[in-house]
C-alpha cells in the first residue's frame, strides 16, 4: 500500500500512447483490468492490475488539484461508468455501447481514458498517474481530500448559470457549439445502439429459422421428399451463415462506430462541464465586481481582494480552457478515424 500521494509534480515515465488495457479478469463480482505500458527510457514494460475503484481513486486525485492554477479549465478525460458483472437494466442503459460485446469496448474506453490523462500536459504531471500506471501495489484507497467538483451542486445551479451570457465571443461560440454537438452526438449514439440491437435480434431470428429448417428434414426414400429435405438443409446452412454474418456485423459496429460515438459523446460532456465551471467562475467574478461597487468603504478593501482573486482565477481558467478547446478539435478525430475503418455493415 502506498503512502498518501503527495501532490507534487512528476514526470510520467511511460509513453502515453503505449498504454493498453490488455485483459480483464472476472473473479465473482470483481473485475480486474490488466494495464500494460511501455517505459520511456530503455526497454521494458509495466504490468499492473487495477480495479474500477483504483480508476476512481486516480480520478479523485486529478480532481483535487486545487493548487494547480486554472485547473478548472481542464477538460477532464471522462471515466466510463462503473461496470457490473450482473448488470441491472439501468446500468446497461447507462453504459450504452460499453455494455455490449464481451468486454472489449469497455476496456478500450478505459484505455482511452488513461491515454488521454497521460497525454495531458497538466494532468500527466500528477504523481497519482505515475503511481497508478507503474506501481505494482494497488494504489491507496484512502479518502482523498475534498475535491473541487461537487457535482450535485452543479446540477442544481445548472439551470440558472448555463445560459449566462459570456463576455468572450470565442467562449460564447464554443458553448453554443458544444451544446448542439453534445445533443447530436448523444442522439446519434442512442440511435446507433438501436440499430445494433435490431441487428442482434435479426441474427437470433436467423438462427431460429436455420434450426427450424433443420427439423424439417425427414428420412425417406421418396425422391421428392429427399429433394425437399436437401433444399431445407441447404437453406438451413445459408441462414446459419447469415446469422454468423449479422452477429459479427453487430459486434464490429459496437467496436468501431459505436465505441467512437460513445467516446465522443462523453468527451463532449466533459467539455460541457468544463465550460460550465468556467461560466460559474465568470458569475463569481461578476458577483465580486458588483460587491465591490456596492460595498461600504469599510468592506471595500476586502471586497477588492475577493474580486482580484476571482479575476485571477477566471483568467487562469479561461487561459487553460482556451488551450483545451483548441486541442479538442484534434482529439475527436482519432475517435472517428478508428470507427470509420469499420468492416462492412449489413
Amino acid at each position: 500500500m502506498m503512502e498518501e500521494v503527495k501532490e507534487t509534480a512528476s514526470v510520467l515515465s511511460v509513453h502515453d500512447d503505449s498504454i493498453k488495457v490488455t485483459e480483464v479478469l472476472k473473479d465473482g463480482d470483481t473485475l480486474t483490468f490488466i494495464i500494460v505500458s511501455q517505459k520511456l527510457s530503455g526497454t521494458g514494460e509495466y504490468h499492473v492490475d487495477r480495479t474500477y475503484e483504483d480508476f476512481e481513486w486516480l480520478q479523485q486525485h486529478l480532481f483535487s488539484q486545487g493548487d494547480v492554477p486554472g485547473i478548472q479549465g481542464v477538460i477532464f478525460p471522462p471515466l466510463p461508468a462503473k461496470p457490473q458483472v450482473n448488470a441491472s437494466p439501468r446500468s446497461i442503459k447507462q453504459l450504452g455501447f460499453l455494455a455490449l460485446g464481451e468486454c472489449q469496448p469497455y476496456c478500450k474506453a478505459l484505455e482511452t481514458f488513461l491515454q488521454q490523462v497521460a497525454a495531458h500536459s497538466i494532468l500527466s504531471k500528477n504523481k497519482a498517474v505515475e503511481v497508478f500506471l507503474t506501481s505494482s501495489d494497488p494504489p491507496g484507497r484512502q479518502k482523498v481530500k475534498k475535491n473541487i467538483f461537487n457535482r450535485l451542486s452543479q446540477a442544481v445551479e445548472e439551470m440558472r448559470k448555463e445560459g449566462h451570457k459570456d463576455v468572450d465571443e470565442f467562449f460564447q461560440n464554443e458553448r453554443d457549439h458544444n451544446l448542439v454537438l453534445t445533443g447530436c452526438t448523444k442522439t446519434a449514439a442512442e440511435k446507433f445502439l438501436d440499430v445494433v440491437a435490431t441487428e442482434q435480434k435479426i441474427a437470433v431470428a436467423c438462427g431460429h429459422f436455420s434450426t427450424a429448417l433443420h427439423l424439417c428434414v425427414e428420412p425417406g426414400e421418396d425422391p421428392d421428399k429427399q429433394a425437399f429435405s436437401r433444399v431445407c438443409v441447404k437453406l438451413s446452412e445459408v441462414f446459419e451463415s447469415i446469422k454468423k454474418n449479422m452477429t459479427s456485423v453487430a459486434e464490429n459496429n459496437v467496436n468501431t462506430l459505436g465505441l467512437g460515438l460513445d467516446l465522443e459523446s462523453r468527451y463532449q460532456e466533459a467539455e460541457r462541464e468544463m465550460l460550465f465551471r468556467r461560466t460559474c467562475k465568470l458569475v463569481e467574478l461578476e458577483n465580486a465586481q458588483r460587491n465591490v461597487e456596492k460595498a461600504k468603504p469599510v468592506k471595500k478593501a476586502a471586497m477588492e481582494e475577493v474580486k482580484k482573486a476571482a479575476e485571477t482565477e477566471f483568467e487562469h481558467t479561461s487561459g487553460v480552457a482556451k488551450q483545451e478547446v483548441k486541442s479538442t478539435i484534434n482529439n475527436c478525430i482519432p475517435h472517428f478515424h478508428v470507427s470509420f475503418h469499420s468492416g462492412l455493415v449489413c
Partner: protein, 482 residues
Amino acid sequence: MAASSDRNPPPFPTAEESEPGLCDMADADSDEGEDIFVSNSNPVSVSRGVSQPDRVSEEPSDLFSEEAASSTAAKANGVHSDDDNDLFADTNVELSTDKSSSSARKEPSGPRHASTFTPSPAAMQPTSLEQLEEEEAKDSFDVDVAVTNPEKIGDGMNAYVAYKVSTRTSLPMFRSKVFSVRRRFSDFLGLYEKLSVKQSLHGCIIPLPPEKSVVGMTKVKVGMDDPSSVEFVERRRAALERYLQRVVSHPSLLQDPDVREFLEREDWFEDKFQEVENEEQQLRKLHVVVDSLVIHRKELCGNTAVFAKSLAMLGNSEDNTALSRALSQLAEVEDKMEQLHQEQAASDFFIFAELLGDYIRLLGAVRGCFDQRMRAWQRWQEAQSTLQKKREAEAKLLWANKPDKLQQAKEEITEWEARVTQYERDFDRIGMTVRKEVLRFEKEKAKDFKSQIIKYLEAMLQSQQRLIKFWEAFLPEAKAIA
C-alpha cells in the same frame, strides 16, 4: 431364431418315400452358404397338409390372394374382413426347423401337397397329445423380426417415436420374404389388446409388451439428446423386439391375422395422413419464425433511417470539414442501407412468409381430401350394414310369411345392393384419386420450394453486392478525415 440344422421335420403322412432324399439334400446344404432371405428358394412347406403350392407367391392361390396382391388402397384402410384369413386361425401348424434345407425339401414334396390342400381347418388339428408335445418341442421358426431405427416424428408434446419393424420370413402367408413397416409404441400396445380379447386365443399365453412410461416418453418428446432419453428409447426398442419375437414364436399368434397385419400391412393412407399432419406443423413453425424475421428487418429499416438522420445532423454541426463531410456521407450510405433492408424485408416476406402460408393452407386442403375419402368409406360401410339389416328383415318376413311386405323387402334389398356396389366403387375411385393427387402435390411442392428459394438466394446475392459497392465508395471519405 433357433436353427437346429440337424433336425428334420417329422415325415409327412404321404411323403415317407422322399425322406432319404430329403436327408441327403439336407446334409448337402450347409448353413453357411445359403441365406434363405436372399435366395429365391421356394418357401418352406409346412406340415399337416397346409401346404404351399410350389410356386412363388406371385401366383397366389385363393388363400393367399389377400397377402400376395399389392395392397390397393381399397381394403387397406385398417378394416378388412377377417374371413379370408381365418383358415389358419385354428390350425396348429408346424413350421420347418431348418432354414438351409428349405429348398432341398421343396421339390419332391410339392405336387403331392397340393392335393392335401383343404380349406377346413378342423382336419388340421393334431389328434394326439403326443403329437402336440412333439410340436411344442420344435423351437425354430421361419420368421425373424427386428425392431430398429427409432426415429422421433413430430415435435413437442405431439411427438412420438416410430420404429422400423423388419420381418424376414420364408412363410408363404406373407406378402414377400423381406419387408418392413413403421410402427409406433401404441401400435404394439394395440396389437396386444386385440390379441388378449380374442376368443380364438383364449388360454394362450400372450406375450406382454413393455410398459407405458409417461415420464420416460415426456422426456423424449421434449428433447431426445440427453443420455437418459437415449437409454430409455434403446431399452424400449429392445423390449419391443423381444416382445415381437415371442409373438411370432408362438404358432397360434403367428397365424393370427392381426399379427400378420401388424407385421406387414402398410396403410399408405394412414402413413401419408400422418406425414401431412407433421408437415403442416413444421411449416407453421417455420412461418412463425419467418414472421419474426420480417418484423425485425422492418424494425432495422426504421432504426437505420432514424440513425441516418441523426448522423446528418451531427455532420452539419461539426466544424471540421473533413469530418463533417464524412459524417454526411455516412448518413447517405445509411440511407441506402435502409433501402436495402426494406427490399430484404420484402423479399423475406413475399418469398418465404407467403409461400409458407400458402402451403399451410394447401396442406389443409390435402387433409380435406383424406377426410372425403374417409366419408366415402363410411358411407360404404353404412350401406353395407343397412343392407345387412334389410336382409335380416327379409328373413324375418319369410318366417312370418307376409308375402306382400316381402316384395317390398326384396326391392329394398336390390336397391341397397346396388348402393353398396356404387359406394364401394366410389370409395375405390376416390382412393386412387387421392393417391395420385398427393403424389402430384408433393412433386409440385418440391419444385415450388426449390424455385422460390433460388429466387430468394439470388435476390440476396444481388443485395449483398450492392451493399459492398456502397461501402467501398464510402471508404475513401473515411480515410480522408485525418
